[in-house]
Amino acid sequence: MKKTHLGILAAAALATAMPVQADLVFPSLSYRTGPYAAGGIPFADGYADYFTLLNERDGGIGGVPTQVPECETGYNTEKGVECYESTKGSGALVYQPLSTGITYQLIPKTTADGIPMHTMGYGRTSAANGKVFSHTFNYPANYWNGASGVVNHLLDINDGNIKGKKLALVYHNSAYGKEPIRTLEELSKKHGFELMLLPVDHPGQEQKSQWLQIRRERPDYVTMWGWGVMNPTAIQEAANIRYPMENFIGIWWSGSENDVLPVGEAAHGYKAMTFHNVGSDFPVYADLKKYVYDAGKAAGAGDQMGTVLYNRGIYAAMLAAEAARTAQELHDTKQITAAQMRDGMEALEITEERMTELGMPNFGPSFKVSCANHGGPGDAAVQQWDAKAGEWKLISDFKPSDQEVIGALIEEDSNAYAAENNISMGCN
């Protein structure tokens, strides 16, 4: 009796949850709660604010208003599935789950449902091979570009020779953290440095033993694949053992204000990779202020402007909007479908002129997506934290990564996936 009652209630609740299908729908599988909320909130705010700006300033994309229904995943895969199922019927154009675990789950599902997924700088790296992963995109850069970027930076500061140096990888013990290992192993063979692996278990507040090991073995450099509460903990531990911060380089998910601010002055000099520019010194922020913040339409608490991850949210939204615009032109229709959106993403070209037009000059690399290459150029830069000024600064240009090593690995991993799942190669 209780159960049927519950069922009726749930059915009633469900019936009204579907938005009207007339707008361009960009579902946001966000996480504003849990141990990874510090990273999830600014990204989700940036993502939502950019679409609000498009609606308020331009009346949407090509005149069709956009909609960003949010669904809380808590970085949890089971909730992610629930969110995906509950939003996909609403005419969803593209998914950006901001979680490698959820990405792995959604790759086969989105492909079967014909909805594209964009995992910008995360997810399954080998999805860069568009011949195998027809509906998954990870431009402009992926984890292996990031790993190679770290090694390239080490080469730069060591005059091109890191033979015999020791590099420690502190990583989140999950699919996310394990992604770079294979590339780093290959690169260590190529450049002759020694690699030391230190896994940290979810959620990452317990890192004493890892840093004790670093203190004992004294690696020359430490790199980190961390997320959420794991990042500030690691930087604090590094400060505690007086590890030189300039030798500590995080991936782009370990390089936001939330990660360094709790450590204070001691975090000065900490480095991180990035694939887009930092700060709020862009014309688009003037528009955001005029149409979104001052109009009281900012998402969330409205206190994340200009932070690294907020910028990343804006960047993700900009790329999605540009792909939608490309799709509109390509198919000569305003009301695009998910399949047309996929074509738009595959034909996406981001040029410096276009970014300047959008008020985001030099915000990210210019690149072109193709059917075979869903991964973009993979250019990455290094940013460094200035604790006195309280801001991130780019200390290098956007530089290419070691495509020779990465290309072979992508080929190998994606072919293994294709063989496992009986996928025939596309793009012929």
């Binding site: 749930a10 469900l14 709660t33 895969t77 675990g101 294979r182």
Partner: protein, 358 residues
Amino acid sequence: MFYREAGDFKTSYAADQQTFAIKLDRRAYYSLLAVAFLVVPLVINEYWASAVLVPFLIYAIAALGLNILTGYCGQVSLGSGGFMAVGAYSCYKLMTAFPELSIFLCVLISGGITAIVGMLFGLPSLRIKGFYLAVATLAAQFFLVWLFNKVSWFYNYSASGQINAPEREFVGFIVTGPNSSPAAVYLFCLIFVVALAWLARNLTRSATGRNWMAIRDMDIAAEIIGVNPLVAKLTAFSISSFYVGIAGALLFSVYLGAVEVGEAFGIQKSFLILFMIIIGGLGSILGSFLGAAFMVLMPVLLKNVLVGQLGWATDIAAHFEFVIVGGLILFFLIVEPHGLAQLWRTIKEKLRLWPFPH
């Protein structure tokens, strides 16, 4: 008036001992089964399957399993998450090593493997009891998760440590992978649930089940009247793990399709299943279902009401979910410390007399 046994004459022992002694109960049970098997598959859509019914069915199996061990045999276990992982990884290894093996058999064998592992970790229960046993099973939980993270053979040396379920068919219907139809997945789980619940119900009424309950109520007294604690405890551990392993295999293969051990089978899963049986009712088959329904469906329901209907911000709704579910757990446990199943039993007693209580 409507709900009573008066006039319902039993003429054989079998009739007297049946599970649903009252005609109305029996009819309700059969009609529920008929609806579940015949009507639901026709109306089910993907959202209902993958967000509501399939997780409910799978967690019901896990709760049944833990209820056998904790509710019927009195051995507290915090290792359910780890045992689910054993089921999931065995299923993955079987699916990839023997592609021609039926998925049905894969799931069953995974349960069998988990039963053996569970029996191994049940050995300490012969020496230690209560909280100390809980700690020993907690060790199993952490050890198993560590093992599946550390030894790459278990995930076929994939770069990310994720395991992915390849596409498999069961009697001509695809039940795993992205192309499976919601009805097929639902029915596949339902078959397991019905069979396992039927088995559990009959086990607990058999000599085995009575031995378990004797051990639970007082192990020394049980030993004196001739119950072998070794056999009773180890059968409880193995059968319980069999159930939990099947739940883990189904969770991986048909529900999620891709899992990562630390995230999907961590300590929070063990607690979730333990909470299910405490809220549902220890030592009750119905309680396992009610507990699973409460813990799985309540958050989804609240999310849909708070976000979908009331239009709350997602983060506030997510936090309130914790508050409301937590409050409801407290409320139900204060109103009825023996769980939802006992609440249902009380209601039934009242109904029998209604509307003439004297």
